[in-house]
Every structure is written in C-alpha cells, then in structure tokens.
Symmetry: D2
Subunit: 334 residues, 4 copies
C-alpha cells in the first residue's frame, strides 16, 4: 500500500526514471503558508551532490504544486507535490533486466510484479522517492507547529557512526579508500512532545514510528531509548524514576515512551543503516538467462554511504508520524 | 487504535482485572476446523505458572468462542474469542492510584485517559492482552496453511539470551539470586515464505512486522538479518549473492528481505526485551498526592524475566502478519 | 468487513442463535458516564415484543460490558458490549439447510461462506445484530454531546408510511388482515449540526450516511432532502436561497447538505424499507437437494413490518456517523 | 478523505482552475495493457462539448501518466494520471468570493476550510474531478476483466428521464426553452456478477456502491431493485423466488442483492440527479460583505442538465467498487 497515516495521510508515487516522483498529502489543515522555499533546506540536506561519498546524479529537486495550494496557503484539499526527473541515464540500467543486482530489489520486484516492473534505476523502489517523504516532513512540521500542543516540538537526527567509526568523516574516507560502500548509525531525538501520543498495543508510538522508519530503504534495525542494551540490564537499573508530576524522569532508558505512549521526556531512537548495495566493487550474481553465476559491476551513480542522507529522511517520517498523532490528540483533548 | 491488519484483522479488548480479555478476528476464511484444543499448546507456552521466574497468577486461559464458529469450523463471520479473568487480586493495585509504578504505563494512562483508566493490574495496558495475540496467532497459522503459497511456512522464536547471558537458565537464576528482574533477546525465524510478501515503502515487510512486534509490551528494539551489525559492514561484505533462479543467496545478511519484500530466503529478526518493570526491589517514584518522592515496592504477581514469555507471542504476531499478507498475495497472483 | 467508522470505530460480531451478539467500539472518549440504564429506552424501542406486527421472540436484551467501563465511566479503552441470546428456537431453522428462504441471505451466505455459515436464524446476517448498532448509537450520542460543537445535536427518525399508507396503524392492520408482511418509509431529521461535517467526494456526508444506512437489513433506497423528486425539478426551483451569514436557507431541498458537507440547516433523509422477507404466506423456492421447486412456509418468529423497528436503528447509525465526524471536526477546528 | 477502496484504492486531487486534476490508483495488478486511447471513449462520453445542454468549456482531457506505466503496461506500482486544466476563465468566479452561489459548495467550503479554499470554479469541489473517476473506471474495468470471476461483467448506465420526462431529448429541450436547468434519473445495470460480492452489514454491496455513488456531485438519492416502491409492497409480492441452483430468480425486486451480497442476478439501481445548480436564471443569495440579500446571475460555463453526463461517471464508480470487491473475492476463493 502506498499510504501512510490515519489523519495526515501520505500517498507516494513515481519511479526513478519515469517523468517524476510525487506525493499527495491528505488531511492538511487549511491556512498553512507554504512555498517552494520552505522545502529548500531539507531538500538540500537530502541531496548529496556536493559531499564526498554521495551520488553524482544532479536534479533540481524543485517542488511543483499540482493541487492544494492557493495564494500561498494550503487550502485543506489534497496537496500534491511532484518532483521532475531530469538527470536520467537509463542506459546504465539495461543490465538489470538480465541480472539482479545484489542487495537491491531487482529480484523481488521482478517476481512480485511478474516482470512488468519499471526496472530502470530501481523504478518505484528507488531511494529517489525519499524526496517525497522529505517534502511531506516539511508540511508535517509546519502543521504540527500550528497546534498548541505541538508548537514546541523539535526533531533532530544525526549520523552517529559511519563505516563503524564514531568519526564519521573518517568512516567515509575509509569507504573512499577501500572503494567500497559502508553503513552507518543514525540517532533521532524529539523534544517538546506532550504526554499521550500513541495507543496501547497496535498503534504504540514505537509501532507507528518503526512502521514509518522501515519504509526508508536500507534501514536494518531500530531501537528506542537504551534499546538492545536493555536486554542485558536489570529492572531496577532500567526503570526510569519519576521526579515530579510532569512525568520527568531521572534517567531516560525508555527513550520517552511508556506503555507505547509518549511520557513527556525526550523521545530517542536509533536506526542502523546498511551499506549502500551499489558498491563500486565487482560482485557475483546469478544470470537467469544463462543459468550461470557471473561477476557484475553495478553502474549508475550511487552513494558510498547512504547513511549520510538518512538523517533528514528520518526526521521527515518522524514529523509525519507526530503530525498525524497530534491531529488525533487534538480531537480527544477538549 | 485497537486494530491491526488489512485482511486478517485483529481487534483486541479487555483489561487485566475486568471480566475478560478478548479479540475479534475479521477476515477469517470459512471452513477452518477450530477447537479449544488447538490453542492449548501456545497458551501453555505463554503461561508461566510452572517455570521459575514467571508470575504466580493462575488462570485457566480457556478460549470461549462468542461468534464465528459453527459445528467446529470457522464460518467466515467475525470470530470472537474471550478469556475470562478469574484469579484477580485487585487490592494489590490500590497503591497505583496514588503513585505511578516506574517503567509501567500507569503515569501515561492517567494522562491520556484523563484519570478514567482502569488502573488495576495495568488495565488495558496489561500484558494479559497478549493472550489474545496468541489466540490470533493460532488462527493465523491455520489460515496460512490453507493456502498453497503458505502451507510450508513455519515460524519459530527462541530466547537467545536472558539477563545478558547466552545460557538462559543461568540468566534466570541470576535474576532470582539478585532479587531483580532481567531482560532478554529473542530471535524469530520463518521458513517457507514465497517471494513477494510486503510492499515497497510504507508497507515493507519490516514495517509491518515491526509495527506488530512493538505492540508487544517490553520490546525495545528490532533488527532484521545482520541488523545493527550491518551499520559497520561494507557493501561487498553485506550484499547477499544470488545463487540460482529461486533467489537463494549464499549469505543471509538481509534476513530474507530485499527492498521491503520477502526474497524467499529465511526471514530472520531479533527483538530486545527490557527487564520486567515490576522488579521485586524497592524503587523510588513520585507521589503526586504528597508532592514528594517515595520508595515503593510493587505488589502483584509478576515475571522476573518477561522475555521468557515473549517467543510464543512473537511467533503469534508474526503469523498474523504473514496470514494477512498471504490473503493479499492470493488476490494478486492469479 | 465488520468495521465502520474512522475515529468512532464499530466492530460487530455474533449470530442470531450463537451465545451472543456484540460490538466493540474503539475511539470512545474517556469519562463518559455509562450504565445499562442508558440503553433501556433505545433497546425497548427496537424490541418489538409488545406491538402488533412484531416478533414474539423474547430477549432480555441487557447490555453486558466486557471492557472499557470502570466505575461507571468509559475509560478510553475499547468498549465491548454483548447481548446474550436466550430465547432461541433453532429447530425452526433446520429447513433452511435444505431450501433457501426467499428474500433472505440464506442462499448467498451458503455460497459466500462455502457451506460453513451458521444458518440458524440467519446467523450473522440476522437483524438481531442491529441491537449492537442501537447500543453503539447510545454511546455515540453521549460522546457527541460532550463536544461543544455537538451538544445541541438531536436526531429523530419516524415511520412515515407502512404498507403504503400514511396512517401507519392502518398499514399494520392491513398486513395482519392479509396475513402478509408489508414495507414502510422512514424519515430521519437531525438538528443542531455545525457547518462543515463531511468531505468533498468520497466521504461526502451522503456517502457516509448511506454507507451506514445500507448496513441495516431491509433498506432498499435512500434520498436526501427533496431526493428523487429533485430529478423532476428545475434549478431555480430546487436551489435553496441563503438568508443570512449563518447559511440558513429559505427552503431545504438539499436536505442540509451542500457539496457533500453539512450546511447548518436541518439534515433530512428518508429510507425505503422492504416488506419483511419472512411473510406468513406460503412461498415457492428451489430445493437443491431434490432439484425441484417446492412450497415452503417460513417458520421462526418474525415481524410483519420490520419498518416499525427501523427508526431507532436509523437514528443509531446516524448518531454513529455524526460522532465519528465530530471527532474529526474537533481535530481540524483549533 | 480523498481515498476510496480497500484493495483498488483511489486517491483524487486537483482543482477546477489549478494546474490539473488527477488520481493515484494503488492496488492495480501488473501487466494490464494501458494507453491513452483506452480512455478516449469514456472521456468523450463524459465531456459535454457537443451536446445541447452541456458546458462550453473545452478541454483536451488527455490523460498524462506520471507513474505506474512502463512499456505500455501497468507495473503494479501506484498509477498516477493527471489531466491538465487549460481552458480556464477564472475571472468568471471573482464574484464567488463575495456571495455564495445557491446550490453550490461555495458557502460550506468557505466555512470548512476557513476561507483558504480555492474558490475558482468550485475549486476541489468541482465536477471536473469526475474526470478522474472516469479514468479510474477505465482501469477498474480492465482489471476486473483479467480475473476469471470478472471477465463477463458488464456495467451500463443510461439516462431514464430528464426534466421529469421519459423522452430525455424533450426534457433537455424544455430546459433550453425555459432557460433553466433540469434534473434527471439514471439507471445502472450490471450483468455477469459472481455470487458473493459484498459483506454482511457495514460493507454490504449497497453500502459500498452508495458510498461511491454519493461521491458524484448532484446525486440526491439511490434505490436498488424495486427501491422506494418496495415500501408499499407485500412480502409475498416482493420476495424473488429462486428458480434453480444458480440462484436465478423469477423476479428481481431485490436488484440482484440479498443480505448485502450479490446473488448472481442482474444488479440494478437508480440514482436521482438534481438540476444543475448553475441555472442561467437570476437568483437570490446573501452577501456577507453587505449583510444584504442580492440577486446574482451565475457566470461560468455550465451544463443545463448535469444528469446527461452522469451515466459514464456512474458506470465508472461502479466498476471501481466491483474491481475492488473482485480482488477480495479472489483472495477468499481458493
């Protein structure tokens, strides 16, 4: 399903080498001022053209508003934003028809869509669609800040490690030196949340955030608060002691969530990002046409460390989740 | 929202110390033979009455069918199963009204539900509702096996670590010796999946599984395949090489998922379980009535290592996800 | 799908001759006082035991709360209400296994559920499940009245015609005299709605109301405002002229809805109710076992004019729709 | 919500005088051949440029595929189709800002979207968005015909009456002569349906069809089979007698639906279409700026009898409903 969200509803579409990628957002409050300039910073953070270790594909990434904006404000009707694909070099991908690239969706796409998938540049599976998530995040943040309960919320994600190193520049340099791609670790922190976001069981805050987060390609794990380390702790060490009637706690092992609900402390979670599948190194794969294994070198322009571009996308999907929940919160708090 | 699933739809209800906990499952195929006996094994695995380190609460946990069964078979109409609560000692929980237990949902429940929550034994937040998830898992597994594409699917979860030790019995003994609760690590493996379960982006297989998994209380993290370790790997080491036209790979760092879609290899994921919040040790908390911090000892009957009971619940929610996706799969594969 | 509603979510279950019928309502505000007495009036209106032309089946129809109520107030957790089935005479229905009753769901149920359906008394298709809708309507009305925007809303449905006669008592007497069942016409009027309920296109107020209304068995048509008569009018006669800035109009041909959205005038719609399928008269049907047509007399206890019992059910589903929309309204009106 | 459908999911967007109107369809089977030519006939039926009594707005109405098509076939990824708006005369609508047009959504849109709505040509409420529904109908019909159970399904809607006259040309001429708009009556018939589409209660076939149908602007009522006339009939006259084991009935008062489920007979329903709100005649309305009532003449180019354009839209939404249900049907019939 190309949809996410109950109240703030995202619907993405598009392919890497089709005419455009885009998103329709339904459930936007009317009266939010919105212009192309609002998207510039986050889109630039996502674009990697200048940084070492990022793809050389150059796109303007200018948002084009097809609907839902009038005289510079959201109208309350569905908001559709598209980004044109201009810098396409589809011939790099002719090979994919023959042999699936290791680590990519080529193989499963062919099976799931019975051979009719657009295979160029990963088609609909391309990381290029994260541009739509970033656009949604911009709208989500603005919407969130229009609510009294959301106006102080800030969400920030940073790259903690790259290539296994805390010094992330060194991690990227290692990748460049090795001529190989590397993974990374990204942490997201949200401040200013009201108590009460999330639901018991199925729509716990962790459930919904992780649902959104795993829609970002290359994410392999998520942990909240102390996370995996909690498995080795005792209860008396792990429990966060309440300090006052606001719910502030002395420690934050729970990462700001109790019983699936935001508890008013800082929301903290980390995600593991796998190394970019498109490593420059030659790799083995299986060629169904010949029935033989063969070595391939993946063409196309790719990031050596996709984790470099994850923070802004992670913030974006998190803001989408929070905006969605704040709309609900508003409805149930008279 | 108390609902999970698009086609195989779960709706849970109930409180720890109310008359019962229960679940309505909609979207069940007619004609599946179903009796109380079918639930015995999984319910016994979830019950902890006999094992060291598990709660002394004794419940019969007999499924009562309110609807959807006729002459021993599912009818295709909504299937409602309830479990009565008999062994209730609510007076243990009078204290909760005054002071929220550290690590529990007491504080957030009070805020979210503005003081009207059933606070006895955690109310609707109680782990007792996982009994309903286990019941759903039994039905899901049976449904899954009625489909050609699902008949060979097996799902198994095991406790890998308790109290930070690979020897889990030693880990539990450590907890008993310390008089404290401990966490654990659980791994789930699924074999026999067809290629093609999951959707690009929002309903990736990881998204939907993690959504379900974080509905289980006490889960703090999830990782697929190599997971967090992938963040420190290179692409050429992490990529799984295809060996033949079935998509079988030489390694399984991806844990059986490519581009959010099952790739036909074993599905593997691990979850971190925090130590039970109700440690026997005395703990500090804040008493809003007095405006002072105070030491409490949590009453009630609790597990020292809730991770002991997680494997069957983890299997159950996984089977629910897979059944749901197989129904969809069936619709799109003519 | 056994579910209705986006925010105020209904999930029904049960069969006519199973242990009970019931409903889980999710999305209920905490703090609404609720007791069995609150349901008495509406349940009595729905029950037909005393009136001429209604079924002689006698049920206590006492609501049993399985979850979501604590100390007399809703908790905010899922609210489950069941009604036990006591006065069951299943042997009346043995015949159905052989020959489908004309006008009933017996035939389609057998096909859809491939022979596994509970056929006794119509099983899950029974009008007895409207008891659950009535219960939901009680909760919806209370919830609606807790909102500022909903506190003045009143919804009233009346039987306009029975057996084709404006004098409905005469219409019922006609049915008794003929020994046949008759249909009826029911009108529903809602006052006090705010402007703005409903959405453009897919979730127009008419769309959502009609969706709910056609879930009531025996409804064959619905019209809003002037309805079918509008097809023969001119635009200048049909358009409602605005009289002031509140949107009050001189006429109400539109029935209180413009562009799919409530316009602040009285909401008016009518539904056609078919004659009860279980007429006392002998009828022809086809016996698949013998391959022959045969005459049957439908046993069981039935209403001669089911339309008598429709008004309270119609009010109930309407109140459920309005409560659902008011929750949404609250979220989008700061 | 701008969404309709569970499996075959529609999401519309756009405004009458914005850059375009469009639709994203998710849940499309891969491998369906699709080209702009496939849309020509239905789009031409919907366009009214040539017929007397229809708008003089001239648009090319060429579908532009933004995603989901590759090499002439659907890919299985979200399918986005847009139609550019070229022949726009927005100045006709400056007046709307001041005074709401009777019968239109202007007033409610202003209230619901707190003054931020795009008011030009009705904005998002415009009938121009039915072009997107027609496009969806084309895809739905093709998808439906790829299934064994759907390949013989045909859906046809015709204008039964215009201006209150069975001779519809005379009805239109009457409108032209009067210089006023008129309403109409449209009937839809579907043949070849399998037994079993629809669900008990909330997603009855009538519920889902009426939900879709009332998303078409100007529809004021719907009736199935004998419809409102059934309210005046007796049960023995109304019940349809089964003739054989296929469920074929001697009469079809039920319009092909029993218990909310398709029974294999012809599906028949009728809708009432109100007269076009934009009558050429001068009308009274209220001017909030002056606080006075005033006479206005609605500018813009409009149909005298919008019912002329309804049949193809009615077929389209019906085909969307059926395609959606057939996907489900396929999943539950092994």
């Amino acid at each position: 399903m190309n949809r996410f969200g109950k109240n703030f509803r995202l619907h993405i579409f598009g392919e890497s080498h089709g005419p455009s990628v885009g998103i329709t957002i339904d459930g936007v409050l009317p009266g939010i001022p919105l212009s192309a300039q609002d998207f510039t910073d986050d889109i630039n953070r996502r674009r990697g053209g200048m940084a070492a270790g990022t793809t050389s594909r150059k796109e303007d990434d200018l948002p084009v508003f097809l609907s839902g904006i009038f005289n510079g404000y959201t109208t309350g009707a569905p908001l559709t934003i598209v980004f044109e694909n201009n810098d396409i070099r589809s011939k790099d991908y002719d090979q994919i028809r023959q042999v699936p690239r290791p680590g990519h969706a080529d193989f499963v796409a062919g099976k799931k869509f019975t051979g009719y998938q657009d295979y160029r540049g990963g088609g609909h599976f391309s990381g290029r669609l994260t541009l739509c998530l970033v656009a949604a995040g911009v709208v989500a943040r603005k919407l969130m800040h229009t609510y009294q309960a959301g106006k102080n919320i800030t969400c920030e994600a940073v790259l903690l490690e790259a290539g296994g190193m805390r010094d992330t520049e060194a991690g990227i340099q290692k990748a460049l030196d090795m001529g190989d791609s590397v993974g990374g670790l990204v942490e997201c922190r949200v401040q200013g949340l009201p108590v009460g976001l999330g639901e018991p069981f199925f729509d716990s805050l962790e459930s919904v955030i992780s649902h959104a987060v795993f829609s970002i390609p290359a994410i392999r794990g998520i942990e909240f608060g102390t996370g995996f380390a909690a498995a080795g702790m005792t209860g008396s060490a792990h429990n966060d002691v309440y300090l006052d009637e606001t719910g502030r706690t002395a420690t934050n092992h729970s990462g700001g969530i109790s019983g699936g609900i935001s508890n008013g402390n800082e929301l903290v979670f980390r995600v593991a990002v796998k190394p970019t599948s498109s490593t420059p190194r030659e790799q083995l794969t299986f060629n169904p046409a010949t029935g033989e294994r063969e070595a391939i070198q993946v063409k196309g322009r790719h990031d050596l460390c996709i984790a470099l571009r994850v923070p802004v996308v992670l913030e974006s999907v998190t803001n989408c989740v929070l905006a969605d929940m704040l709309i609900e919160y508003q409805a149930y708090h008279l």
